[in-house]
């Protein structure tokens, strides 16, 4: 019996056979209130329930090998997030997507999947920008006000950095901003490990500099609508080629 127990799946030999499946997922409803660690745990357990041939990390505390693109703040919905799953054997991405969807809690949905090269740099390091939709009363007016501030004037907000309050200028982190309709504001911001603007910090700027009501800011619904990586020629592109199945904006 003891012999059977110590047998592990011959991971070393199979290392070169692993396949990385990148999945685009959305979240809405109750899962919006999960912290990043909760979301990771929820995906891990869902992958286990779905019995996908997932690879495990080594060490004392083996975990399914999942890598997320960019942590999603508590309270944020998303229409365009990514997770890479390392599989022990080749698997058709679409059937992995279909299978996983059967086992995710309601509000989490995998939209598409594709194979990426295991040699690619980590997903997190590729992220360059993100787009968010902010929906809340008075957002458009406040955005207009800060956009009207003189060029060169910094947009200073307070930010908690490892327990210390620091003042940062977020203006250089905003790449684009436009109203789709009244109080539906899209912002495109720098994102990823080098420089990153969290949308809640942008809302702070709207409160501080644009006269947005703080309660309205706290009630604003935030949805991540795009995550973008460099396309290799100075532009940005999606981490997965978009398929017709997903709503395009």
């Amino acid at each position: 019996m003891a012999g059977e127990i110590s047998v592990s799946v011959g991971k070393n030999k199979e290392a070169e056979k692993t396949t990385v499946i990148r999945m685009r997922f959305a979240r809405s409803g109750p899962p919006v209130w999960l912290a990043h660690l909760d979301l990771m745990r929820t995906f891990e357990r869902s992958v286990r329930r779905a019995a996908l041939p997932i690879a495990y990390t080594r060490g004392f505390n083996p975990r399914p090998q999942l890598t997320f693109a960019l942590p999603l703040g508590v309270g944020l919905a998303t229409e365009d997030d990514y997770v890479d799953l390392t599989m022990l054997e080749p698997i058709d991405p679409q059937s992995a997507v279909d299978q996983l969807n059967l086992f995710l809690p309601s509000g989490l949905t995998v939209l598409t999947g594709g194979v990426v090269s295991a040699k690619d740099p980590s997903l997190m390091s590729l992220i360059q920008a993100a787009e968010y939709l902010l929906e809340g009363q008075g957002i458009s007016a406040a955005a207009k006000r800060i956009a009207g501030l003189p060029q060169g004037q910094p947009w200073l907000v307070e930010k908690n950095q490892k327990g210390n309050m620091v003042t940062v200028d977020i203006r250089p982190l905003l790449m684009d901003m436009y109203d789709e309709s009244l109080d539906r504001l899209f912002i495109q911001v720098k994102a990823g490990s080098k420089s990153n603007l969290r949308p809640k910090l942008f809302l702070d700027a709207l409160v501080r500099l644009g006269g947005l009501n703080p309660l309205a800011a706290a009630d604003t619904a935030i949805t991540r609508t795009k995550l973008l990586i460099a396309d290799g020629s100075g532009g940005l592109k999606s981490p997965l080629p978009r398929s017709g199945a997903f709503r395009q904006r």
Partner: protein, 619 residues
């Protein structure tokens, strides 16, 4: 029917908002519009935080059981943390269920599981936030039936004013009958609530506190407890499931998305405990010992592991080593779970070489800490409490542990046990020193590099339905002195000492052996702001002392007073099967430091054999 809509800014501002939104894998959502199929709405309430409540197996079992009924929808509700409760009050949001966000007051049943006395004020907070009158006597025909079950309901007297009815014994057995009765008498419930309660009280295991009158002697002890309605039994007998293999067990269960306290699958091996430790209430109220078969356990474990996606399975019982086929069970579980990267956790193991080998095997994937509970520092006191562990057992186990690579262990003791003297307290330090010596004597090559011992002392609280129900609790001064002594004696680089607060144990002792006169005290303490009393950061003994004084009650009456052998206890009308005469003989044996063999070695005819179940059969 209404639903509660919590504004985003509220969820944005509270800590851990995931507690308040539901939607977890395995949570049950039913269609209310489907042809009136759902006739009973049941709110299962746990009077503590989400993370604690979701770690409770009773919740998972009863949620599964009730939701298997086509006519019932069971939803969950937990005590909102201070920040959330405050926001809800400001905005006038009623407490709601996590599945359909329905206000508590719109349910047919609001059922609390009571696991510990210090959660009582949270029951009041939840009723109040839910818009339900606190006192049973004030509830009207359209209010829910507020019911309770769980281990502390065996003496529910301090909370008797707040519940319409209480389930004595195992809910799996009683709840289906209660719900059937409710369904058949729906119009009666809204017409004449009292008449419905009269019918319910005829179900064995259902206790309606309002139907029993308690009179007191001038000294505050109980004079008599009598039914004040015709046709009711003088004593309410607990109900049990005779055969655990024949009762449903959740094969999927709710999988919380956010981290909870015990974040793993629980596999219940058996109910009851054959050991008979004299301080232990669970060991008496859950008798007789009833095991599940190994085949069934293995099937259940595999099904649950697949259905939940959990990567850890914990065996659950009062004393894992007493499962009769533990070796076979754990071998079969490990054989299935290890290749699936799922670990097995083994709490409550006895101190022996088999246990250590087992832990070694189980820790292939994850290494866990060792915990042992000698409970007392000297053999004399361990004999008093009937804890069948010797110093040799402990030293042998520690030696094997060091050789097996463990750096140490956590040792649990109790302070303030009946007959305890300072010698017994010093015995705890002696034992610890012997373990340190043992470590030092081992060759460096065969022992871990560092020794890390933890000694933890809880304070003894005499509980109803135990041989120590007559005993006095030690005074706060005595307890503080003993803690101080240990703090001095246990000063060592390799030993960490943790101790419990005396005030908390004092309140627990008041409530555990309390009577109905404490109802107004609990209400007053809650009105003065007592909340989450089990949480050190919120507990305020001052509030409780004031509330007791205002009611003209002396805390010492409940805590440090030894009861006479013929005293009528406030819980005398509850029959757990184990007889008063058995408990008393055990109390007397304790005074003489005489031990009693465990159930499997010799039947002591405690009275539990009258249930004709489990290991009592065939004796």
């Amino acid at each position: 029917m209404s639903t509660v809509n919590v504004p985003r800014h509220v969820l944005q501002s509270v800590i851990k908002p995931a507690r308040y939104v539901g939607g977890e894998w395995g949570s049950v959502h039913k269609d209310l519009s489907a042809d009136d199929q759902i006739r009973i709405r049941f709110a299962f309430c746990f009077p503590d935080t989400y993370e604690i409540g979701m770690s409770n197996l009773a919740l998972q079992i009863l949620y599964d059981l009730l939701n298997k009924r086509q006519d019932t929808w069971c939803e969950r509700c937990f005590a909102p943390w201070i920040d959330m409760a405050e926001q809800m009050r400001i905005l006038g949001l009623p407490l709601y269920s996590l599945e359909s966000y329905t206000p508590l007051r719109e349910f047919d049943f609001v059922g609390f599981t009571l696991q510990y006395e210090l959660s009582y004020t949270n029951v009041l907070s939840m009723l109040d936030l839910g818009g339900i009158p606190l006192l049973s006597a004030d509830r009207k025909s359209d209010d829910p039936l507020v019911i309770a079950g769980g281990p502390v309901t065996y003496n529910i007297e301090p909370m008797a004013d707040f519940f319409d009815l209480v389930i004595i014994g195992e809910g799996e057995e009683v709840l289906p009958e209660l719900l059937d009765l409710y369904d058949a008498n729906r119009s009666l419930v809204s017409r004449n609530r009292r008449e419905f309660l009269r019918l319910a009280a005829r179900i064995e295991g259902v206790y309606v506190p309002a139907f029993y009158h308690v009179s007191y002697h001038p000294d505050g002890t109980v004079a008599a407890i009598r039914p004040n309605e015709p046709g009711l039994p003088a004593r309410i007998r607990k109900r049990i499931i005779r055969d655990l293999d024949r009762v449903g067990f959740p094969l999927a269960g709710i999988v919380p998305s956010t981290e909870i306290v015990h974040d793993r699958i629980f596999l219940e091996l058996f109910r009851g405990c054959p050991r008979g430790c004299r301080f232990c209430q669970a060991g008496m109220i859950y008798r007789p010992v009833r095991e599940k078969s190994t085949d069934r356990l293995v099937d259940q474990a595999l099904a649950i592991e697949r259905a939940t996606g959990y990567d850890e399975l914990g065996l659950l019982s009062l004393s894992t080593s007493d499962y009769s086929e533990l070796a076979e069970l754990t071998d079969r579980l490990l054989c299935h779970l290890t290749p699936r990267q799922t670990s097995l956790s083994l709490p409550s193991l006895r101190l022996d070489s088999f246990s250590l080998e087992l832990m070694e095997k189980a820790s292939k994937t994850r290494k866990s800490g060792l915990t042992f509970a000698p409970e007392a520092g000297t053999q004399r006191l361990r004999d008093v409490i009937n804890k069948n562990i010797t110093e040799d057992d402990l030293l042998t186990a520690m030696r094997l542990a060091f050789l097996g690579g463990w750096k140490g262990a956590k040792l649990y003791f109790m302070l303030g046990l009946p007959t305890e003297t300072m010698d017994d307290v010093e015995g705890i330090a002696d034992l610890t020193r012997k373990i340190e010596a043992l470590y030092n004597e081992l060759p460096k090559s065969r022992r871990p590099r560092r020794l890390e011992m933890t000694v933890s002392t809880a304070l003894f609280v005499p509980k109803p339905f135990t041989p120590f129900q007559w005993a006095a609790q030690a005074t706060p001064q005595q307890l503080d002195e003993r803690i101080r002594r240990l703090r001095t004696l246990l000063r060592s680089r390799s030993v960490k000492y943790q101790w419990h607060d005396t005030d908390t144990s004092r309140l627990e002792a008041i409530l555990a052996r309390g009577d109905r006169r404490l109802g107004p005290v609990i209400l007053a303490a809650w009105q003065r702001g007592a909340r989450f009393d089990a949480w050190q950061e919120h507990f305020q003994m001052r509030i409780w002392i004031e509330a007791l004084q205002a009611a003209g009650l002396d805390p010492d009456f409940y805590t440090v007073r030894e009861r006479s052998e013929d005293e009528i206890f406030p819980w005398s009308h509850i029959d757990i099967g184990v007889s008063q005469s058995y408990l008393l003989s055990e109390y007397r044996r304790a005074q003489l430091a005489q031990t009693t063999p465990q159930c499997r070695d010799a039947c002591s005819f405690c009275g539990a054999e009258s249930f004709e179940g489990g290991i009592c059969i065939g004796r």
